[in-house]
Amino acid sequence: MALIELKDVSKLYGFGDATTLALDEVSLTIEENEFIAVMGPSGCGKSTLMNLIGLLDRPTHGDYKLRERYVSKLRQGQRAKIRRDTVGFIFQSFNLLPRMTVLENVALPLVYKGVSVGKRIKMANAMIERVGLREREFYYPRHLSGGQAQCAAIARALINNPSIIIADEPTGNLDSASSRLVMELLSDIHKMGNTILFVTHNPELTRYATRVVYMHDGAIIHDEQTAIGDVAPTAKRIMFTVPTTTEEDDLAGVSVLMKNVPGAESDKSEQKPAKSKKKAAKKPRKARGGKK
C-alpha cells in the first residue's frame, strides 16, 4: 500500500492567456518510510508539488490518494485536519510566529488539536528536548540562530507525530554546519519510520536521501533510488562533470543548478520560456512514479 499516490496531477495558475502550468500531469508514488530529495531549478514546480502533497493546495486535474483515500476533493476543514494529523511542514524561512516563544511555537499545532494546556507544555517540552533546544525554550525566534530556529520549526512539525514531513528547502537559509545539523535531525526522524520529502538545490544533501526526484518545467524528468550516504548519481554528475559557475556567476549568486539541469535542453528553452513550456508538455517523460 502506497502512502502517497499522485496520478496525472496538474496545477494551473491564472486564466486565459496568462495561464501558467505549474505541474504538468505528474504521477508519483511514495511508499512509507522513504526519504526523498526533490531537485530542480527555481520555478520548476517543486514547491507546488510539496504544497499539493501537504494538502495546502488542490490539484487542478488529477487524483491524489493519501493512504488509499482520495483527498483532493475533500472540504477545507477535513483537509486541515488531515494536514494537522499527518503532515508536518518545514520551511526555508522557518515561519515561526515572531510574537511567541519557542515553546508556544512548538505547541501551536497541539492548540488546534484541542490538547489541554498542561499536556501541551509537556509534549512541547519533550520535543524541544529532542531537537536540542532545552535552554532556548522561552526565547523568541528573533533571539535564535538560523539553525536553532530551524530546529524549533522541526520540533513544531514533529509535535503531532505526523507520518509525512515536508521540508521545502530546509537548509536554504543556513550555513553548512547548521545544514548538517538539520539534515542529521531529519535523518534521525527518518529512522523512526517517518516519510520525508525535502526540496534542495544542494547535491551534497542527496547523501541523506533514499530516492531523488528531478523536476523541470512542472514535470518529473528523472527519478532514481540512491543509497544513504552516497550522493545520487545524477546529482553527482551535476556536481562534477558540468563546468562550474564562472566568476561572474559567483558574484551574481547564480548556482550550478540554475544553469544546468540534467535532461533539460538547455539554451533555447531558457531564452523562450513561453514556447519551452509547450515543448516540455509534449516531451515524453522519463520519470515514472514508484519503484516499479
Binding site: 504544497n51 501537504g54 495546502l56 493546495d57 477545507q76 476543514g77 486541515a80 485536519k81 494536514r83 494537522r84 494529523d85 511542514f89 520551511f91 515561519n95 515561526l96 510566529l97 510574537r99 501551536l108 499545532p109 492548540v111 488546534y112 488539536k113 484541542g114 490538547v115 489541554s116 494546556v117 501541551r120 513544531r156 512539525a157 503531532n160
Partner: protein, 411 residues
C-alpha cells in the same frame, strides 16, 4: 475547545499589548460610546430617584390634580409620547374646579398652584427669573412643610398683598437672610414679605425644583392683578385620612367629570402615578439621548472593524503558518472574532470605569446625583461584547478564507 478559547484569549491580549497605541485608539470609539450611554442613563436614573425621594417628602397621601388626560381608561399611564403631547396641551384648571374638589368627599384641603407672569422688583434689584405662584393657605400643609420664618397667609387674609418667598429669593432680591416685612413690587402692586420657606431640596426637572425661587401670593390677589385669567397648572389635595386616598380620588374624579360635562380633560393622580408621569417623560428623554449616544458606540464598532481588517492583512503570513500547522478555517475565524471581542470588551470595561469616575465627579461638583446600576454595567459590557463579535465577524471571515499558500508567501 475551552483550551483553544483560553489560548486564543491569551493570544488576543498579547496582540492588543503588542500594538498598544493602535488598540487604544481603536478602543476609544467604544469607550466614548459606553461612557456616554452609561452616563446619560445614570443621570436619568439619578434624577428619577431624586424625584421619588422628593415625592416621598410631600407625603404618600398627596393627590395631584392636573389638566389634560394622562391616564388611559383602564387606569394605566398613557404611553410616553402621548404624555409629551398631553403636557404640551395643558389648558389649566379653574377656580370652579378648585371648589368642586374642595366639595368632594374625604378631601381635607386643596391647594392650587397657578403661575402669574410678571416682573418682580425691590428697590433697584430685580429678579431675573421670577416665578410668582398664586395659591391659598393650605399649601404648607399640602406639601408637608412648615414656615420656619414668619407665617403663611391664611384664608382670612386672602385679599391682602402679602407674599411668602423661597430661600433663594431672599438672597437675590433682598440680599438678606430673613427679609420679613420687606416689600417688593409686582405688576404695579406692592407686596409685603410675610414668611419664608426653608430650603427645598433641589433637583433638576422635578416639579418642585423651583420652589426655592418662587414667590407665593394669595389666589384672590392674583386674580385681581390678572383680571381672573390665572390658570392653575396643578391642584394639590390631601385626604382626611391616609387610607381614604383612593376614595378621595374616586370622589374627585366623579365630581369633576360631572362638572366638566363628562369630558375627562383632567387627571387625578396619587403619588405613585404622579411619579410615573414625571419619570415617564424623563425615561423618554433619557432613552432618546441614550439612543443618540449609542450611535457613537456604533461608530466605535466600525472603528474596530476597520482596525481588524488592517490587522488581518498585516498578519496574513501568520494566518498562513497557522493554517499550515493544521488550523481549520473555523479556528482562524474564532481567533479573530475573539480578538475583536476582547478589544471591544476591554474598551467597554475601560468605559465603565471612566463612567464611574465621571459619576463620582458629577456628584461632587454638581447637584446632579447620577447613579450607575449593575444593570447599566452589565448591559454596557454585553453591548460592547456584541459589537466586538458583530463587527469582528467580517474581518474574521476574510482571515479564515485566506488561501494558505498565498498567505505563506505574503510578508
Amino acid at each position: 475547545m475551552s483550551s483553544i478559547a483560553r489560548g486564543n484569549i491569551k493570544m488576543a491580549l498579547s496582540s492588543v499589548r503588542g500594538t498598544k497605541w493602535r488598540s487604544m485608539l481603536t478602543m476609544l470609539g467604544v469607550i466614548i460610546g459606553i461612557v456616554s450611554v452609561v452616563m446619560v442613563v445614570g443621570i436619568g436614573e439619578g434624577v428619577k430617584q431624586e424625584i421619588a425621594h422628593q415625592v416621598g417628602q410631600f407625603g404618600k397621601d398627596l393627590i395631584t390634580v392636573r389638566p389634560g388626560k394622562l391616564k388611559s381608561n383602564d387606569g394605566q399611564m398613557v404611553s410616553n409620547t402621548d404624555l409629551l403631547f398631553g403636557l404640551n396641551s395643558i389648558s389649566g384648571l379653574t377656580q370652579k374646579d378648585l371648589q368642586t374638589i374642595q366639595n368632594s368627599d374625604h378631601v381635607r384641603l386643596a391647594a392650587p398652584l397657578a403661575v402669574v407672569p410678571g416682573e418682580v422688583k425691590a428697590g433697584n434689584r430685580k429678579l431675573d427669573q421670577s416665578l410668582v405662584i398664586a395659591t391659598n393657605g393650605s399649601l404648607p400643609e399640602a406639601i408637608n412643610r412648615s414656615i420656619p420664618y414668619g407665617d403663611f397667609f391664611s384664608d382670612k387674609d386672602e385679599d391682602a398683598n402679602v407674599a411668602v418667598i423661597g430661600r433663594h429669593v431672599a438672597q437675590t432680591l433682598f440680599d438678606d437672610y430673613v427679609p420679613l416685612g420687606q416689600t417688593f413690587t409686582f405688576r404695579g402692586y406692592t407686596f409685603i414679605v410675610r414668611g419664608m420657606f426653608d430650603d427645598f431640596k433641589t433637583t433638576p426637572l422635578s416639579p418642585s425644583s423651583n420652589f426655592n425661587d418662587a414667590i407665593f401670593i394669595p389666589t384672590k390677589v392674583a386674580q385681581k392683578i390678572t383680571g381672573n385669567s390665572t390658570q392653575m397648572y396643578t391642584i394639590l389635595v390631601k385626604p382626611d385620612k391616609q387610607e381614604n386616598t383612593g376614595a378621595a380620588i374616586e370622589s374627585i374624579e366623579s365630581k369633576m367629570l360631572k362638572a366638566h360635562g363628562g369630558q375627562e380633560d383632567f387627571s387625578v393622580l396619587d403619588q405613585k402615578q404622579n411619579l410615573e408621569a414625571s419619570s415617564g417623560v424623563l425615561s423618554l428623554v433619557t432613552t432618546m439621548i441614550a439612543a443618540i449616544a449609542a450611535i457613537s458606540l456604533l461608530v466605535g464598532g466600525v472603528g474596530i472593524m476597520n482596525i481588524m481588517l488592517a490587522s488581518v492583512t498585516e498578519r496574513t503570513h501568520e494566518i498562513g503558518v497557522r493554517k499550515a500547522v493544521g488550523a481549520t478555517n473555523r479556528q482562524i475565524l474564532n481567533q479573530f472574532v475573539l480578538e475583536s471581542a476582547v478589544l471591544s470588551v476591554l474598551g467597554g470595561v475601560i468605559g465603565v470605569i471612566i463612567s464611574i469616575v465621571g459619576v463620582l465627579l458629577l456628584r461632587v461638583y454638581t447637584n446632579l446625583k447620577p447613579v450607575i446600576s449593575w444593570e447599566a454595567i452589565v448591559v454596557a459590557t454585553g453591548a460592547s461584547l456584541i459589537i466586538g463579535v458583530v463587527f469582528g465577524a467580517a474581518p474574521a471571515i476574510k482571515a479564515a478564507r485566506k488561501d494558505p499558500i498565498e498567505a505563506l508567501r505574503h510578508d
